[in-house]
Symmetry: C2
DNA sequence: TTGCGCGGAGAACGATCGTTCTCTACGATA
DNA sequence: TATCGTAGAGAACGATCGTTCTCCGCGCAA
């Protein structure tokens, strides 16, 4: 038998991919079981309910997002470049064939009305992103009100790219971000 | 018996409110029937399926959105003010207690993977908004690439306000829009 | 070797969904 | 007035969902 941590990871990874591709409510627990290769009984011994699994998936996505953002920032040398790296990161993501929008925004639209736990997990991730941007803005020495403006650009790029189905929004948001940064530093 | 147009409107209005408040998939056709006071048989004679009703609700929302935007623009005298009126319109909307984010974004996150018709209706509305902004930018005499930047700000403000649960994003996006406009006109 | 406990597979359960069907009542027409 | 068509109310249907339960087989202790 596989150990608990491995089973947990298999379930979360499988659920993440299914939820992201088809939507959360469209995926039954049977489909998660088949994709993960872990029995329903085991799944329910690891997660008390589907809601709890959804929250675990969102936390897993948060880790991936954070790691991707950090990797993109590593390639930058200045604070300004680290901010713009966010939009390069988005650009690369939007071009992936599997891109279907921000999983947090999608899940929020789907379940925030019916699950406080899910809404809370999404809010947490977005608030962490806001804090990340605020840190970069502070390192740049720009006024703090620049940070939410840049975060709004990033959010808007994600929904625009998802709905329009083209990656242009990343580049457009990047240009806007440069303009906002320059104006804030003047 | 009430005439067809009236029945249609009652169903669409009731469905719109229910879908927006609780999410589309969380609302059964029975609930629509009860809220609208129109029998299931009648509903299915007006709409071939729930999917078709969803699309009708999205078109109804589009009309409301367009009318609200037009009313906000009426209060402005210059092209620049008409653009900024978008964000004032968002601000007032975000402060409504019933605000639960953009219905188009929410519905897209919920159903775009399972219904092409729904995804198409959402894409149509967003594309119309982009065209509206592009028209204002052209009237302003600013370079056309300003338009998608402003649209991204508006989209980002909507998701940010919905998830964070506070209306600040409208004001922040408005300030950013002013900066972008000024930079584009220089 | 013989019990025993635990995990896997998936059947079963109760609820709910979208959609259709049945039955009844009423209003218009000849 | 008698008859027919139609609409309303809601039961019914088949599918599917989240969750639990049953049964079977395998690995380990004495």
């Amino acid at each position: 038998m596989i150990d608990e941590a491995t089973a947990r990871e298999k379930v979360v990874r499988a659920a993440d991919e299914l939820f992201y591709t088809r939507g959360v409510q469209a995926v039954g627990m049977d489909a998660v079981r088949s994709a993960a290769g872990v029995s329903l009984k085991r799944i329910y011994s690891l997660f008390a309910s589907k809601d709890e699994l959804i929250v675990a998936v969102l936390r897993y996505r948060t880790e991936i997002w954070d790691a991707g953002l950090a990797a993109a920032a590593l390639r930058a040398t200045t604070a300004r470049e680290r901010i713009l790296a966010i939009f390069d990161f988005l650009d690369a993501w939007f071009r992936e064939p599997e891109f279907r929008g921000c999983a947090f925004i999608n899940t929020h639209g789907e379940l925030s009305a019916s699950s406080d736990a899910v809404a809370g997990a999404v809010r947490e991730q977005k608030s962490a992103f806001q804090a990340y941007v605020a840190g970069l803005v502070e390192a740049l020495g720009a006024p703090p009100q620049l940070a939410p403006q840049l975060a709004i650009l990033a959010e808007g790029a994600q929904t625009t790219a998802a709905i329009a189905g083209v990656p242009d929004a990343a580049r457009q948001a990047r240009v806007a971000a440069e303009t906002l940064i320059d104006a804030a530093m003047r």
